[in-house]
Amino acid sequence: MEKITYKEAFEELQQIVNDMQNEMVGIDELAEQSKRAAFLIKFCQEKLRTTETEINSLFEEKEK
């Protein structure tokens, strides 16, 4: 799984929202993009509240 910085997560989130606003996301991709956005937000929120070692467990969970 990936290890992303706040900046990368934030920029990707911004991109998803922009794409949606510009009608560049089709109905089929809606589910996929929303899931990705939700993951990014949750990831940042968890990262804010953990130190480096703890965050690895978050990834392990996701991998399962």
Binding site: Y6, K7, F10, L13, Q14, I16, V17, M20, Q21, V25, I27, L30, S34, A37, A38, I41, C44, Q45, K47, L48, R49, T50, T51, E52
Partner: protein, 435 residues
């Protein structure tokens, strides 16, 4: 004797006059003590009251509760006058209580001071200036001047806003802290950070140093150097010091320290607990806050702001997805209705076609039959005609009366009637002779 001693106050008084009492007897000498005692008295008499004197502090140290200053006067970097001064312990306490600024901030090496002194000559310790008062305004003025000079230099090198122009990272989590572990300020700072209500976690690395005294600047510079070597592992530097107007801020007006901070590659946030004017360090730092706890709160608020932006994105997403979905649903409904309508229309029009065919069908059939019938009749006629010719060819004849009615029995005609016989090749008219 006293009359002569008064003359000493005049600059061009001849020293000899004063020694009238002590006219050296040819075979007698003075003891050192006697000489010094004489000096003491001269001094005491000429300075029945203290005088104000301007000087620069070259040295300053405290011993046995008393404060010792080495005062100098300089002309273009070379010393032209020098004297030792003392603030006796109890006098110092008085000053500390009455002065509106911390005494320590005024008594620093390199500073110019205006002091009210009582000159004294002690037989053993020689000439000393006993300090009675310090003119704070003068020194503050000098300090302010010195600070202005430093600020001017920083400004000319475009360093005043350099650190401030670095953007803070989205999230502050890795902090390099310059402070003293035992200081209250540091502990308050850590307390606030580690027990914030939002649950944010931080990774702080302490670079311990004295936050007051002569070594502050040097230790700060060393620490900043060390941080620079691993600057990528930190989001920002925090310089904090517990409050207390009593503590000297001199280190934080230092030019080299301010330059180092101004040129630092990551944001430097300071909270050095000053009560009065900001120091030069406050001006060059990225962010200057009043206290260490304010610095902690700043970091927490910064991260909270980030989280809010995330939440905003989240809300936008939900909104957009919902809009799109309901839009799609609506479109589907529309298509459904249209389809229904279309199929109904098609069905109706087909029905109509069928109906019209239905109604027209019998007529068509009838007409068809009729025309067929006509054809058939024609054909039948033709056939029957052909048949007749063939029969006549075989020798048979057709007998009709005068009217042309074909006779099939003798009863059908009168005995007087004329008969017409049709043969294949012509007709014969004949009369009946016998029936």
């Amino acid at each position: 004797m006293f009359k002569n001693l008064w003359q000493f106050s005049k600059r061009n008084a001849e020293p000899q006059l004063l020694l009238e009492e002590f006219k050296p007897r040819k075979l007698q000498s003075l003891s050192l003590f006697e000489l010094n005692e004489f000096m003491r008295r001269i001094t005491a008499l000429n300075f029945s009251e203290p005088v104000w004197v301007k000087a620069e502090i070259a040295q300053y140290n405290v011993a046995r509760g008393n404060h010792y200053l080495g005062l100098v006067e300089k002309k273009e970097d070379s010393i032209t006058a020098e004297a030792e001064a003392i603030i006796w312990g109890n006098r110092f306490f008085q000053l500390r209580a009455t002065l509106e600024v911390p005494v320590e901030s005024l008594l620093q090496e390199g500073l110019e001071v205006l002091l009210k002194v009582q000159p004294e000559f002690h037989e053993r310790y020689g000439f000393k200036l006993i300090i009675q008062e310090i003119d704070t305004a003068y020194t503050i003025g000098q300090l302010a001047l010195a600070r202005q000079k430093i600020i001017k230099e920083l400004r000319s090198k475009n360093l005043l806003y350099k650190n401030g122009s670095i953007s803070l990272p989205l999230v502050i989590q890795d902090i390099a802290v310059l402070s003293t572990k035992t200081a209250a300020g540091y502990q308050d700072f850590m307390e606030h950070l580690n027990h914030n209500r939002l649950g944010y976690r931080f990774r702080t690395t302490l670079f311990p140093m004295a936050m007051q005294g002569d070594n502050t600047v040097e230790e700060a510079l060393q620490n900043l150097k060390r941080i620079r070597r691993s600057v990528k592992s930190f989001d920002c530097v925090v310089i904090i010091r517990g409050g207390g107007a009593k503590l000297s801020l001199k280190a934080f007006d230092d030019l080299s320290l301010s330059e180092s901070v101004a040129n630092f590659p990551i944001p430097v946030i300071v909270g050095i607990g000053h009560e009065r004017d900001e120091s030069v360090l406050d001006m060059v730092a990225h962010t200057s806050l009043k206290t260490p706890t304010a610095v902690a709160d700043f970091c927490i608020a910064h991260n909270f702001n980030f989280e809010n932006e995330l939440a905003y994105f989240g809300r936008q997403m939900v909104q957009m997805v919902n809009t799109k979905l309901s839009g799609a649903k609506l479109a589907l409904k529309g298509y459904n209705a249209t389809l229904k309508h279309l199929s109904q229309t098609i069905a109706k029009s087909e029905e109509k076609q069928i109906d019209s065919i239905k109604t027209q069908f019998p007529l068509l059939v009838k007409r068809r039959l009729e025309s067929n019938h006509k054809d058939l009749t024609h054909l039948a006629d033709k056939v029957s005609l052909l048949d007749l010719e063939h029969t006549l060819g075989r020798g048979y004849s057709i007998t009709t009366d005068e009217k042309g009615k074909v006779l099939k029995s003798p009863e059908e005609v009168d005995s007087k009637a004329t008969l017409i016989t049709r043969l294949k090749a012509g007709t014969i008219e004949s009369r009946i002779t016998k029936k």
